[in-house]
């Protein structure tokens, strides 16, 4: 008993313990400060965007911003119609999602209902590897493989040049594919096994179980996953910057070069914009738009999961 404090009948801590307690109070405060610094970053994002955005709209009329279809903010004379960016973003996102969502769903169905454990053991790590490949590598791939071999071969309307929204869209879709697969798998795993087994027990084939039961039962999660995929595609910069060119022309044909909101920001950053030039502020205005749109999509995705989550308990 020699090393422990003498056994009095008191339940008070010793002096050493009291110092320990003071130290611990300090620790809690320090940890709280660290945790709240995360909050500071978000507010930082907002504030970083708000100021220059307001400045931007002091110089550029909203009517031009939303009304014109000519986007040449870094030229002389500059023009600030944002629609080319919006259309570009939309089409590239559309192509990407058209590949990633059905593809991801398909692979998820395959993994959860069809694949043997051996196949799954091989397939899943491969998908993880694909998911871990940096966007710049995909951009390279888009430029030197997809563009000449895929994009130009499959587009029926007109010519597809070296840079095209199509090549970028396809590549973004391929890049998002593993992520969508994982999210879809999670949504499917949330469907209670009892439901699925019940369908099999009635003699349904795997296809019927997948399309009839799993898809419908996991629908909210699947939709939420698709929305996240959309958000991810909208925010992608590097692949688009490399493969879609920097022509912000108002066009509905992805065979042409296109520029998105994200790739414009990257493009503007390539040259050095003098601070307080309108060009500099344009980055923030477009950045605000991008942030708002992706933020809105993410919130929508969470709402879908929470509000329409099928209650199984």
């Amino acid at each position: 008993m020699s090393v422990l404090e003498t056994q009095s009948a008191s339940l008070q801590p010793s002096g050493r313990k009291l110092r320990q307690q003071r130290f611990e109070r300090f620790v809690v405060v320090a940890l709280a400060v660290i945790a709240t610094s995360g909050v500071l970053v978000t507010t930082g994002v907002v504030f970083a965007l708000v100021g220059p955005t307001i400045d931007f709209f002091r110089e550029v009329r909203v009517s031009e911003f939303l009304g014109s279809t000519r986007w040449y903010p870094l030229y002389e004379p500059p023009e600030f119609g944002v629609w080319p960016l919006v259309v570009g973003t939309f089409f590239i996102m559309l192509i990407a999602v058209a590949i990633a969502v059905p593809g991801g769903l398909g692979i998820a169905f395959f993994l959860s209902e069809y694949a043997s454990p051996r196949v799954r053991r091989v397939l899943k790590p491969l998908l993880e590897i694909l998911a871990g490949i940096p966007t710049v590598v995909f951009g390279f791939f888009a430029l030197y493989f997809i563009s000449p071999n895929v994009a130009s071969k499959i587009w029926p309307i007109g010519e597809v040049g070296f840079y095209s929204g199509l090549a970028a869209g396809i590549t973004v879709g391929l890049m998002i594919l593993p992520m969508m697969t994982t999210l879809a798998e999670d949504a499917m795993a949330a469907v209670p096994r009892a439901l699925v087994d019940g369908a099999y027990a009635l003699g349904a084939t795997k296809r019927e179980v997948c399309t009839g039961v799993i898809f419908q039962a996991g629908l909210s999660g699947i939709i939420a996953a698709a929305v996240i995929a959309m958000s991810r595609a909208i925010g992608e910069t590097t692949i688009v910057l490399l493969a879609a060119g920097s022509d912000a022309v108002f066009s509905f044909n992805p065979g042409n070069p296109m520029q998105t909101m994200a790739s414009f920001i990257g493009f503007a950053g390539l040259g050095d914009q003098p601070v307080d030039s309108t060009g500099y502020r344009t980055i923030f205005a477009v950045g605000s738009m991008l942030f708002l749109i992706t933020f809105g999509l993410n919130v929508m995705s969470r709402r879908i999961v929470n509000r329409f989550r099928e209650a199984y308990e």
Binding site: V3, L4, L11, Q12
Partner: protein
């Protein structure tokens, strides 16, 4: 032998010849706290007075008046949901860790109010140790498991720690089996050994009382028997309060037994636990005073 504080005005020391103790506290008593026929038990070391526990609005257990004595094993028995574990956890303030738990009434350890301003939770738990239902050794070596407690409360040297570890493992009847593999992971031990390790770990901080929450329910009969033997060996040094759902165990092992039951109050939807009878084990099991006790013992309920 008794170094009682001046606050002991409310504590009663052995031998207990009074049938009922101070009347002030007996306001809501269900059954009189009878100590039996004047046999010299050890001095009283802990006492609960009108102890009750709420989880939020729900009254989980009420009116618990218990006295814990040295040199004895006290068993808490009763059907599931009657609050015996909840009460046990009050005795070392483990219920502090549950945010919705509210403890009413009082518990005195050597005359000090356990929940009062003079009691520090860490110290309380050092003096009143606990062994859990499922053995929960730390994911460390056997040595590190036993050494953890002393290191938390002081700065023992290497030699002192070695000494403490050996003594604690001996007291828990585990030393011979593990002395050559102290550095191995605690998980390499069998279930029964792990539980004895947890006992050694609790003994390493030299507690005054040992609380055991269904310590054998996860163990096979042989391991159970060893722990029951161990309890007999150490009870003269460490008074034990054991919660058990195994009546036979309570009858085998304990000196005093407290029987809890469940009731549904007038406005309640869920049953509340209540202390029905508390007496010498012999008496509880042969001639219980309350009918409910008799029914439980004879297997008609619970």
């Amino acid at each position: 032998m008794m170094v009682e504080e001046s606050k002991d005005a409310l504590a009663v020391s052995a031998p207990e010849t009074n049938a009922s103790t101070t009347s002030v506290r007996d306001v809501n008593v269900r059954i009189d706290v009878q100590s039996g026929d004047g046999r010299t038990a050890g001095e009283m070391i802990m006492e609960s007075v009108d102890l009750q526990v709420h989880y939020g609005d729900f009254l989980a257990v009420r009116d618990v008046n218990l006295k814990i004595h040295r040199d004895e094993i006290t068993a808490l028995i009763g059907p599931s949901g009657c609050g015996k574990s909840t009460i046990l956890r009050c005795f070392n303030r483990m219920n502090d860790l549950i945010p919705t738990a509210k403890v009413g009434g009082k518990i005195y350890y050597r005359g000090i109010d356990l929940y009062g301003p003079e009691a520090n939770a860490g110290e309380v738990r050092r003096r009143i140790g606990m062994v859990f239902q499922k053995p929960n050794p730390f994911p460390k070596s056997i040595y590190e498991n036993v050494a953890f407690g002393p290191r938390v409360h002081g700065k023992p040297s290497r030699a002192e720690t070695d000494d403490l570890v050996e003594r604690s493992l001996r007291r828990a009847a585990l030393w011979e089996e593990v002395k050559d593999r102290l550095k191995q992971s605690a998980f390499s031990l069998s279930g029964g050994q792990q539980q004895r390790l947890c006992i050694a770990r609790a003994l390493a901080v030299d507690p005054d009382v040992l609380l055991m929450d269904e310590p054998c329910s996860a163990l096979d009969p042989i391991a159970t028997a060893r722990i029951e033997d161990l309890m007999h060996e150490i009870k003269s040094q460490y008074p034990i309060v054991i919660v058990t759902h195994n009546m036979q165990q309570a009858a085998r092992v304990s000196d005093r037994t407290a029987f809890f039951n469940t009731e549904i109050g007038a406005n309640a939807t869920r049953p509340t636990g209540v202390l029905v009878e508390y007496d010498q084990t012999r008496k509880i099991f042969s001639a219980p005073a309350d009918e409910r006790t008799e029914q439980y013992i004879s297997g008609r309920m619970g």
